[in-house]
Amino acid sequence: MADTSVELFEPGHRACGGCGPALAARHILKGSGPDTIVVASTGCMEVFSTPYPESAWKVPWIHSLFENAAAVASGIEVALKKQGRKEHIVCICGDGATFDIGTMCISGAFERGHNITYVCYDNEAYMNTGIQRSGATPYDASTTTSPAGSASHGNRTQKKDMPAILAAHGAPYVATASIAYPNDIVKKVERAVNIPGACYIQIHAPCYTGWGFEGARTIDVAKLAIQTGLWVNYEMVDGDVEKVKKVKRKPVDEYLAEQKRFRHLFKPKRNDEEIAKIQAIADRNAANFGIDI
């Protein structure tokens, strides 16, 4: 069992106060433990945790480019294996890095089956460069590159199903988690790093700066995503869903209404048609994963 009293991600980092990804970093490391090498992509977490000459990490940490964390991790894994070393190699990367620009390197690493754990902290847009949409941005969210207005309801595409894509590579373990349930993150990361092969974990990590809500409510917003069925926490072993968090579902309005990125769906008046489409996404999730209690 992971010793959760050990803190491997230190204070003094420069994330916005109340940052979901910063909270995720703490618990990812509690799960992987002190014998971990972290490989980062470019993004908020890289920038706020390592302004030279400072580092918030108490484990070895490497950053090369935005798009190549999985390739760097592959190289480290092969080099360590040759030396008979057994450190856990954990990529911690944003959704832009994972869903879009790094996909080719990730696909290669999973195809080759390196013994790495790839964790995506999913704040559903390119936050560090000013809230541009990514393949992880949900339907109808307003971002600076999918602005809502008279000609648009916001982001036109649906969130890409990255866990399914990596499961289709034959990954032995694929899981989703949320900062709303830190102990669950610890358990899933600990499980992943102890399974040989390339494993994937995607952590829902609300960013109040980019989504537009009160920072103190970061955990509440993460919980609402799960309670409405817009985010599902599950574990997949060898491609089969093994465990799912069940909920007594709330209407999606409760999640959407307090976030500025969805404000256009409620003002000047409630956009019933668009909200019904988002409710349908939650209903589909509920049917696919059987989350309803």
Binding site: E7, F9, E10, P11, G12, H13, R14, A15, G17, G18, C19, G20, A22, L23, R26, S49, T50, Y52, P53, E54, S55, A56, W57, K58, V59, P182, N183, E214, G215, A216, R217, T218, I219, D220
Partner: protein, 85 residues
């Protein structure tokens, strides 16, 4: 600043950066109500709540005053008050 091969940051030395100066509201803990459940410790994105003499205590040198601990406290033992500087 010139960066050469082999330059490194010592582990965890972000502690040199005292983010407590960012704070606008300050969490005040009422230990008569607090049951030491530890939820605040677990949810602080700045890892700045630790057990001191068996009481969960924020380190004001780093606390950014985000308010998550107060919002999610299981017994409402934490109040955010305007920082006086």
């Amino acid at each position: 600043m010139a960066l050469r091969i082999g330059c490194a940051a010592p582990p965890g030395n972000s502690r040199n950066n005292k983010t407590g100066s960012w704070r606008v509201f300050k969490p005040i803990f009422n230990y008569e109500i607090c049951t030491a459940c530890g939820i605040c410790q677990s949810l602080c994105p700045d890892a700045c709540i630790t057990l001191v003499n068996e009481q969960y205590t924020p380190d004001y040198a780093f606390c950014k005053g985000c308010g998550i601990c107060a919002n999610d406290c299981s017994t409402d033992a934490i109040t955010m008050v305007l920082e006086e500087k």
